[in-house]
Amino acid sequence: MLAEIRKFFADRSVLEVETPLLGHCIGTDPQLDFFTADYWLPPRRQTLFLQTSPEFAMKRLLAAGSGSIYQIGKAFRNGESGRFHNPEFTMLEWYRVGFTLPQLMDEIAELIEGLFSGKPLKETRRVSYQDVFVSFTGLDPLIFSYQDYCAFARECELSEAVGICGQDHALWLDFIFSHKVQPHLGENALCMVYGYPACQSSLAKINEDNPQIVERVELFINGIELGNGYYELTDAEEQSRRFDKELAIRHLHKQPSAVKDQRLIAALQSGLPECSGVAVGLDRLLMLLSDSASIDNVLSFSIRSA
């Protein structure tokens, strides 16, 4: 699988890069918990972070003029362990300079369909978040109607959602999407869901025609989330604002505080080229290729025995 991926990018003249796993800064996303490491250079002790994704470092390379790049490397996310999660996992991340999100989606489909050539997938499907959400739930994901969301949850015997989600629109979407939509996505096929609601924007650009949605895509096969891509946010100020907002949420929830990556902000200020990028979980891809029920089966040693 790795050799095929490398050939895919070599054929397209995308440069393979390697960026540090240990860094001084870390993503501020309140949904991602990080590992810290103690860096000791006597007499100074510093806290470094194991990267939750190579995104920031790769964007700095893009801003420095690297052109299109890809990386296959480890990423670390604290507290994530389960049938589809291991706190240390392998990620393929690539950026295409000058690509719009639909262009990147074409390339994603080509790569994934190629990797599955031994056990072909059905035709790749592209659907907007709003359409797929409405079709499985009858609810509009872009407009938060507390009453309707609660009624739907009760109807599906998921009334605990009311207590968990409260008035948090994004949380409701996570809950309903992961319980009632995602399991149906990509039955033996690649399903790409695009046009995420703005409250789940992360590092994506806002759609030019509709400020309610962002240029973000998620990949699914057999209900398993495989990857996440954006038409990348290039606006340094907007990025800085989103970081501050996420730091405030972290503070509010008494989560460990993250360190805002000023070098990334500086790179954006100096100019990140218009580009699209995506990250794909290779362990999960391997699970699907090998019909494995658990991520443990495709790791040499999972976290329990590492």
């Binding site: 605990e160 968990i164 994004a170 995602q182």
Partner: protein
């Protein structure tokens, strides 16, 4: 009682949910890459036996339930209560038919069974997987018929009714699988 976080939920763990003692059957970690982590948990309510699914925000916790399975000897039925005893300590427990439920028809005096205690009160009774019981009533069989086909109903000493092969007679001891309620074999005394 200890408190358990969603990360500690594993099959067999006994917890309190909605004021009822429950056993965890399955625990799946669900997390969108850029979203909230949940644990989708399959739980059996030990009072009703019903299995439900419930989602928790990862990191939430439940209080543990003081539920233990104890091997006991079934003593007798006094008409209102059934009585059980822990062989080692001679400690006795009594419980009514509502708790005994279906297990009742497999309980013979002196036989051992498993009593599930919640806060030291019987919550459920499970008979041994296999019990040996005498037949008290059945139609006379056809001599020489050893085939498995057909069969006939037989009433056992505890009142249970099972299907047995035609050659099995009144007074004989048979072994029954209590999980399926099916005849297994004849037993020599």
């Amino acid at each position: 009682m200890a408190v358990y976080s969603t990360n500690e939920f594993k099959a067999g763990l006994k917890v309190m949910l909605d004021n009822d003692p429950c056993a965890i059957i399955e625990n799946e970690f669900v997390k969108p890459g850029k979203g909230q982590a949940f644990n989708r948990v399959k739980i059996r309510n030990l009072k009703t036996g019903r299995v439900i699914e419930r989602t928790f925000k990862s990191g939430e916790s439940l209080e543990g339930a003081d539920v233990v399975d104890v091997e006991m000897q079934y003593l007798y039925n006094d008409g209102q209560f059934r009585h059980f005893m822990v062989p080692d300590t001679f400690e006795q427990y009594q419980t009514d038919e509502k708790i005994v439920g279906d297990a009742g028809k497999w309980l013979k005096d002196q036989d051992s069974c498993t009593v599930t205690l919640w806060n030291d009160v019987p919550l459920a009774i499970s008979p041994s997987n296999f019990v040996d019981l005498a037949i008290t009533e059945t139609d006379p069989g056809v001599r020489g018929d050893t085939s498995g086909g057909g069969g006939k109903p037989a009433v056992l000493e505890t009142g249970a009714v099972v299907r047995v092969p035609l050659f099995v007679q009144i007074g004989e001891l048979i072994r029954v699988d209590t999980r399926t309620g099916e005849y297994v074999s004849r037993v020599k005394e």
